[in-house]
């Protein structure tokens, strides 16, 4: 049942991805509507899959890398749906949907590992759920930042080409960027706090010097600076896009890379 739901969700996403590519290439709205419906369906199936997993294995499906990737894919497709419903930004599917497909495919190739004992706490689930939601949102912000750059360049070059016609206005992109940045940052803050509480209560001593914890702090710091500059100095365009890229790379490092340096937080 679980794998059936998973496969169905994956197939819907792929159908959505293909139609979103075609609609970008041909500028036909019909394909986009199909893509949207397919992603919506995929999202529903994916949600069902996660619920099924949780009930079936009697733990929140966010403990292993395999589960994390599937959950991350879920948050990204959620963000895609929000970008459409709330902001009407279509072109972003071009970047989010391939990621969803790759993440889903990735989970197939990762062996299921046993759930580490340390992760059997309420706080951990809160921690990881919020962190992954934050990752999804910050990824959207990162993409929105770059779409802004593309659109800005087309406007500055005065030769409207591919992106000019297909991307929304600068103000809408900036709005998308800012709102996802703020919500991503809030989720990350809550997630980190939950992690700290849990670490203080149940985890080993010396967690403060763990590479993954440090990377997460750096990431949080970068986003804090970005938010500050955006609100006070009106940063947008290239500077904001580059800083959000730095933040996202740092987040990626915290998620995957830091494990290579050893440490306690190998999950």
């Amino acid at each position: 049942m679980g794998s059936l739901l998973f496969t169905a969700a994956f197939c819907s996403y792929v159908v959505g991805l293909i139609h979103s590519l075609v609609s970008f290439a041909t500028k036909r709205d019909l394909f986009y509507r199909v893509a949207l419906a397919a992603v919506g369906l995929g999202f529903g199936l994916h949600t069902a899959f996660l619920v099924f997993q949780a009930v079936d294995q009697a733990h929140f499906p966010l403990a292993t890398l395999k589960e994390s990737l599937a959950f991350f894919a879920w948050t990204v497709s959620l963000c895609f749906l929000i970008s459409h419903l709330r902001f009407g930004v279509k072109a972003i599917g071009l970047f989010l949907l391939p990621l969803v497909a790759v993440l889903m495919l990735g989970t197939v190739f990762i062996k299921a590992s046993p759930v580490p004992r340390a992760l059997e706490s309420y706080w951990v689930f809160l921690h990881s759920t919020f962190i992954f939601l934050a990752y999804g949102m910050l990824f959207v912000a990162f993409i929105a930042g770059f779409l802004y750059l593309f659109q800005e360049r087309e406007l500055k070059n005065k030769r409207p080409k591919t992106f000019y016609h297909r991307l929304p206005s600068l103000v809408v992109l900036d709005d998308l960027f800012f709102k996802f940045l703020v919500s991503g940052f809030c989720f990350m803050t809550v997630g980190l706090l939950a992690g700290v509480i849990w670490a203080e209560k149940d985890w080993v001593t010396g967690w403060q010097k763990d590479p993954k914890v440090l990377a997460a702090l750096v990431t949080w710091g970068i986003y804090l600076v970005l938010l500050y500059l955006k609100v006070t100095a009106g940063w947008r365009g290239k500077r904001a896009a580059l800083l959000s890229m730095a933040g996202f790379i740092s987040a990626l490092f915290a998620f995957l890379g830091a494990n290579y340096f050893g440490g306690l937080h190998a999950f």
């Binding site: 036909r28 406007l155 080409k161 103000v171 809408v172």
Partner: protein, 421 residues
């Protein structure tokens, strides 16, 4: 569709001097239509007269119906024969269908994709309906053309990108600000072009208009026209900080806005995007200002280059549209010939019988009753057998619709058949 025919001139074939001589003034169209309808060989007629084209579409009882249209055109406009040589084009049968579909879809227009031609065509259709000059052929052709035009508009983006200076300005503003509702416009200088662009922006939602000018009189009138406010030129910077869109059209021969100046402004704006349209020649805004973050400067040439690139887009979309047209013409002609086949076959059989029985009639006096009956049976069978290969040819489905239509017309001509007597 017996002999559908179209005669006309357009911007492709004739200069404006010729087109204006052929144009039918609005108040004369119905008179012209009635006269056209009264012509001996014209069964239905329609006249399209716009500044870029004058076309007459008719269904004629004669296979050379275009000759009558040409004569009519000369007569109506009191031209001597030969005056229009080389300017007029003629289409027949399915070429008329294609031409009308292309014109309605704005593929034949001077600015490809412009929307007026469709409504002009609709008006022409209504005029003809009112004058009672429409019949079965045109009543089926024109509505189909309107449908095809709608299909082309929906399935291609042929009419989407703007191709005039002020509409391009509005589109660019939309690409920067999304929605223009509540945006603020600052007009520096009181030039005519600036006013035109401002009018377009205001009708797209921009709310507040400030006008500043070295000499206040003209600026005062301008501000009044937009219900805006006149601001002193010395306070230009403050309003550059407030505005979203700046229209510059002064008569100055130097840069009114330069880079260092605008660098200070953009910082005070907290990098909110600013769209500057410089409509002045010589330019009043230093092109280097465009390099400042979040300031977008477009001069007249830039707007023109956007138009060019949008026109290229339209031409690319037009190729897709041509595919739709081909498909629709095939469908239309196929349906049309299918509608004609049934009655035509019956007519053909009857005509053949007639020919054979006429011969019999001439000799009927020398035959007895029984012989006559037998001969009649034999001749009828012969007529049917003679008709058979022709009927097969008519029903043949593997040849193209236009080819079949051609065959149909040929058979109709040879045997002098007419489906509605």
């Amino acid at each position: 569709m017996k002999n559908l025919v179209l005669v006309g001139v357009s911007h492709h074939t004739a200069p404006i001097e010729v087109r204006e001589r052929l144009a039918f003034p609005e108040d004369q169209i119905s008179v012209a239509l009635q006269q056209l309808r009264g012509e001996a060989h014209v069964q239905e007629g329609l006249i399209v007269s716009t500044c870029n084209r004058v076309e007459m579409i008719a269904d004629s009882t004669d296979s050379n119906g275009d000759r009558f249209l040409r004569e009519f055109l000369h007569r109506f406009h009191r031209l001597s024969p030969g005056d229009l040589d080389g300017y007029l084009y003629t289409h027949r049968c399915h070429d008329v269908v294609r031409h009308v579909f292309r014109v309605a879809s704005s593929l034949d227009s001077m600015v490809v994709g412009e929307p007026q031609i469709l409504s002009q065509l609709k008006t022409a259709y209504r005029e003809a309906a009112r004058a009672g000059s429409l019949g079965r052929s045109l009543k089926s052709l024109l509505p189909r053309a309107f449908f095809v035009a709608k299909r082309v508009r929906n399935e291609t983006s042929i009419a989407q990108s703007p191709v005039s200076i002020s509409s391009v300005a509005v589109e660019l503003a939309n690409k920067i600000f999304g929605d223009l509702t509540g945006k603020t416009i600052l007009m520096v200088g009181a030039g005519k072009m600036g006013e035109l662009a401002a009018r377009n922006l205001v009708s797209s939602g921009a709310r507040e208009v400030f006008v500043t000018n070295r000499s206040p009189e003209r600026a005062h009138q301008l501000a009044a026209r937009f219900h805006g406010s006149l601001v002193p030129f010395e306070h230009l910077d403050d309003y550059l900080v407030r505005a979203d869109i700046v229209l510059v059209s002064t008569g100055a021969s130097h840069f009114v806005l330069d880079r260092t100046h605008m660098l200070a402004v953009v910082r005070r704006r907290k990098y909110r995007p600013l769209f500057i349209i410089d409509i002045s020649v010589p330019r009043n805004v230093d092109p280097l200002v465009n390099d400042i973050e979040n300031i977008f400067v477009y001069d007249v040439d830039d707007l023109q280059s956007v138009i060019e690139s949008n026109l290229d887009d339209r031409r690319r979309e037009a190729e897709i549209a041509e595919g739709i047209i081909n498909q629709e013409v095939e469908n239309y002609v196929r349906r049309l010939s299918a509608n004609h086949i049934g009655p035509l076959i019956a007519d053909l059989r009857r005509r053949m019988e007639e020919i054979c029985l006429q011969e019999l009639d001439r000799h009927s006096g020398s035959l007895e009753e029984a012989q006559l009956e037998l001969m009649e049976r034999i001749l009828k069978r012969t007529a049917h057998r003679l008709a058979h290969p022709l009927i097969l040819k008519i029903k043949e489905t593997d040849s193209s619709p236009s080819r079949r239509l051609h065959n149909l017309e040929l058979i109709k001509q040879v045997f002098d058949l007419d489906e509605d007597p």
